[in-house]
Assembly symmetry: D2
Homo-oligomer: 346 residues x 4
Amino acid sequence: MIKVSVLGATGYGGIELVRLLTSHPNVDIYKLVSHSYAGKSLADVYPNFTAYKDISLSSLDIEEIANGSDIVFTSLPHGTSSEIIPLLYEKGVRIIDLSGDFRYISPEVFEKWYGYKHPHPQLLGESVYGLPELYKEDIKKARLVGNPGCYPTGAILTLAPLIANKLIDLTSIIIDAKSGATGAGRATSVDLNFCEVDENIKAYKVATHRHTSEIEQEISLLAGKDITLSFTPHLLPIKRGILSTIYATLLNTLSFDDIYALYKEFYKGASFVSIYTEGKFPEVKYVNGSNQCHIGFAIDKRTNRIILVSAIDNLVKGAGGQAIQNMNIMFGLDETTGLPQLGWYL
Amino acid sequence: MIKVSVLGATGYGGIELVRLLTSHPNVDIYKLVSHSYAGKSLADVYPNFTAYKDISLSSLDIEEIANGSDIVFTSLPHGTSSEIIPLLYEKGVRIIDLSGDFRYISPEVFEKWYGYKHPHPQLLGESVYGLPELYKEDIKKARLVGNPGCYPTGAILTLAPLIANKLIDLTSIIIDAKSGATGAGRATSVDLNFCEVDENIKAYKVATHRHTSEIEQEISLLAGKDITLSFTPHLLPIKRGILSTIYATLLNTLSFDDIYALYKEFYKGASFVSIYTEGKFPEVKYVNGSNQCHIGFAIDKRTNRIILVSAIDNLVKGAGGQAIQNMNIMFGLDETTGLPQLGWYL
Amino acid sequence: MIKVSVLGATGYGGIELVRLLTSHPNVDIYKLVSHSYAGKSLADVYPNFTAYKDISLSSLDIEEIANGSDIVFTSLPHGTSSEIIPLLYEKGVRIIDLSGDFRYISPEVFEKWYGYKHPHPQLLGESVYGLPELYKEDIKKARLVGNPGCYPTGAILTLAPLIANKLIDLTSIIIDAKSGATGAGRATSVDLNFCEVDENIKAYKVATHRHTSEIEQEISLLAGKDITLSFTPHLLPIKRGILSTIYATLLNTLSFDDIYALYKEFYKGASFVSIYTEGKFPEVKYVNGSNQCHIGFAIDKRTNRIILVSAIDNLVKGAGGQAIQNMNIMFGLDETTGLPQLGWYL
Amino acid sequence: MIKVSVLGATGYGGIELVRLLTSHPNVDIYKLVSHSYAGKSLADVYPNFTAYKDISLSSLDIEEIANGSDIVFTSLPHGTSSEIIPLLYEKGVRIIDLSGDFRYISPEVFEKWYGYKHPHPQLLGESVYGLPELYKEDIKKARLVGNPGCYPTGAILTLAPLIANKLIDLTSIIIDAKSGATGAGRATSVDLNFCEVDENIKAYKVATHRHTSEIEQEISLLAGKDITLSFTPHLLPIKRGILSTIYATLLNTLSFDDIYALYKEFYKGASFVSIYTEGKFPEVKYVNGSNQCHIGFAIDKRTNRIILVSAIDNLVKGAGGQAIQNMNIMFGLDETTGLPQLGWYL
């Protein structure tokens, strides 16, 4: 059994990770650390855990966590992660970080988009970007994984086969993404009040969202050259799910079947990516609760564009599920172990 | 492995049952019968099954179903169930019916509330009311189970300890219940359109809902005398969940702790019932996706009433989950096998 | 033109009052006071006012407000209202208070339910309970009106004809009420986050909500004797609206038509109360945005109970709309002036 | 007073038009025609009209409608409109059609996107495209107005100043639009069930939606050359509102202020268009219930793109409100008469 601890267990990302971990056949939960609720029972904070009421929440003791855990998931705000992770890292425990702190190759890019110098740039060289569909071999050997952002997971998986096969004009990429409100975390902000989010949709951080840089990093690596793209996130009145509608101009005249075949080939070993046949498009309710990324697309001959639509559950494939997929790989398990392929439509 | 077929697999009740069955360790799905979608792949109708795309939907062949299945779940409209079940029953296959057709002891009560004569009243004597917390021993031996209605499941479990312990005035019971829209099934009716249900709540079938009679039957059996009560269902703008707020007048002055102890005693062997401590009340998000029934209550000394609040997931404990619980009991498995204790808060 | 100021203009109650005031033909808005946003434009805080962008928000200057206003609406937290209102009152300006501070006759009852001594009990004798359907004559002469709570408005209007006509057992009243989230105001609390309220319903303050005492005060006055009743509020995943389902035992055998006639008679001069014919029940979407209270009911012969369902918009008839109705009466206008009879179904 | 009739009064578009008409100071409603509910009271179908219960619904009598009405609004399915309108037109009554039947200049374009020959192509030459911000002078004289589609209204208003000022690469336009479910009308389709729409978002008719051609027609006229663009509609779990996120490549380096000034100039006489200052973007809740179109934008120097976000209420500016604006212009009234500038944020 893998001994697992979670730091930041009671945020929305943390609690979903914990929920998924409880049904993993190879996991023993060691410590659930919660700054806000240390000492309480998990069921007091999230009463859906009532039937598991013996799990208690701890305060952070680096020594204890590092000694008692085979792996630590950090579901903390960026900035906090980069303070705590070096302390864990030097004690030799493996770490999967769900913040943005260890996803970047370049400290300069991090600084530009996060607004401050990365405090431990040397660790950026140690960390692996935890997108298993691209980096499985690196993840196997990783001691520190930067688990991808929710938006980047959907966008990169959707774009990767196009880029790798050099099918599109690299200056033409536009990602219009729509996310459920769990993406904003369990914060107390007027903007996240039910009455502000319900019956509404808004774009936010237009042309300035940090995930732009994360997507650009990975797409540029695939392309072998620097790519600049447009990414616009929107907040939806739903809890879970990200739908990404992506536009790009095709370099050549290609049929649906041509591109479908390339996608199937690109993802042939990927258990968590499904490609839709012609005329079908994913919806977020198709992936709620699952670790799947569903991808559909159309070719618009009138404009010579490809329009792709992908759906993930931001809390699963976009966060905790992907983190567990990474853990599975790091510990030599089948990557699907303990992860839901089938979510709830209703 | 238990060979299982589902009739009516593509309604909301049916598909949730199928979803739960796919993760049951002792179940092999034999046939999924769908009148509307026979011949199609399940993933075409419910694309959340895309990663399981080899499940195909069948048309109904009684002979084949009866021969190839150890148990058949019927998730059909009332009236249709009572036509088909006798044909299956005489072939010896075990059956769990999710309609209202085999929940009643008295054909007269059925006729009064359903508006037509029961076509097979003799089978009512064979069928067992599938509420495991009350009838586990009968269910073990049953060949035909009438799986309880969603509202009755919540109401009966919440009231049973009060009745059994003779704590309340039997003329004082009022059940004000609120349900998610999956309870209405996958029907096409203007009333169920998104724009009609969203941002709304309504009471419906005030003083006339059929589940009244089902609750009264069971509560009367527990009391040993005929009980008449008030039950008002409401439609909520949510998918899943029933919250029941129940009022009754106490016969004696009892403390919270007294009644709490009686509830804990009454449900001491029940894996799927949780009793809340003083000052806490269940919410539907605490049981979404789980087979749990959560019960909380307060004693109002000013009015000498007890006010109880219970929550279930209407699609799980109120339908398919409870049906699987019954199947587990009928096949000698632990009643919790393959059933979720922990749902999703988010 | 009536010169009007609003204190607490940027809470949910305040802003709806302001929205309604902007379309009132006899009103000039003098000052909109907002503690949080003084100095800003209203359109900066609520961009639906963009086409009215010259309204600016002020800080509180009692002298200025009292001198420049014919009437002041206070939409402030209880406790704050009772500090500020005496200062305005002594300057002679008329006041309609939307908090709970001036709704009570008895300072003892206030203290019992609000948990502290009323700081100006003598003013309770001056204030009139602003439910126009019961107190129109008193409101005409009032200098200080305690505008009713949202839940009490629905409950009292629904019960009043039964009480006045002595039709029900006064110990049997149960009010099960369901409210949209605007009722909780524009607070920042984890409990009011979108992800906590969406796809959920909960009961709260079971047997302890302050509005119980307000309803009891008014119902007792109508009955001429002290009444104790049960009131349970629930939080719905909708913005607006209260549905109250009310149960009471009838003293005599009465037909629907008998009671319907009594309701029509009781409300014959009331422009904002509609009584439903047999078999029809109000829904909150029927009154969204209007100042109407819709009431329907059924008589359940089996239990000898009457079950009533009423709907109001908590922000209109339950708050700002009713406040304007009171203002109209105080200033000799037709009570319907400037108030919406027709809301939005969609 | 203008005598007005509405054909198709009980669809979602129709009923919102009727709701708006009831508060128009210069309108007398003559006949409300409803195929489904002729003979019923409007309040029976939409009980929010209970306080107006004397409005009854009629069946269609062309002669009577034409003789008794100064103007007829047709809120009918396309295909039905083009059958009925010629009959009304030849009797001389003025008509505003809310379907797609009379929005096109070219019968070939209509046929290509609607899939059948236009039955009265000669009337296309008579009809005026009812977007008052572009065609006010033509509308003044029109006898037949093709009221714009909901998506085209938002898209065209947002793009027009860019096109008219030749600021963007005309091959680069991408419109990613998100709509509330009222846009689909009051149809009975499983896809529109609450449980299918709630907690979901989907793209639909990707690269094939008819409104593409309507937008292209108008944008091409403004540009003076044929434009082909990408338009992707999405269905949101909200009732009302369209948010359009629009991308285009700038031809020159322009500052926010430069473009802001051009927008203000372009819309200087437009009462229903608001341009946002830098860093602010519209949300659908800012325009719910109002006839406003709110437009915000950012310039992304990294990609040399302009990203625009606009919001309208699809039922008001996108349908009935705009139709009334057209009527006002046709009858020489101020275009804002009887139309809401201020909607409801809550």
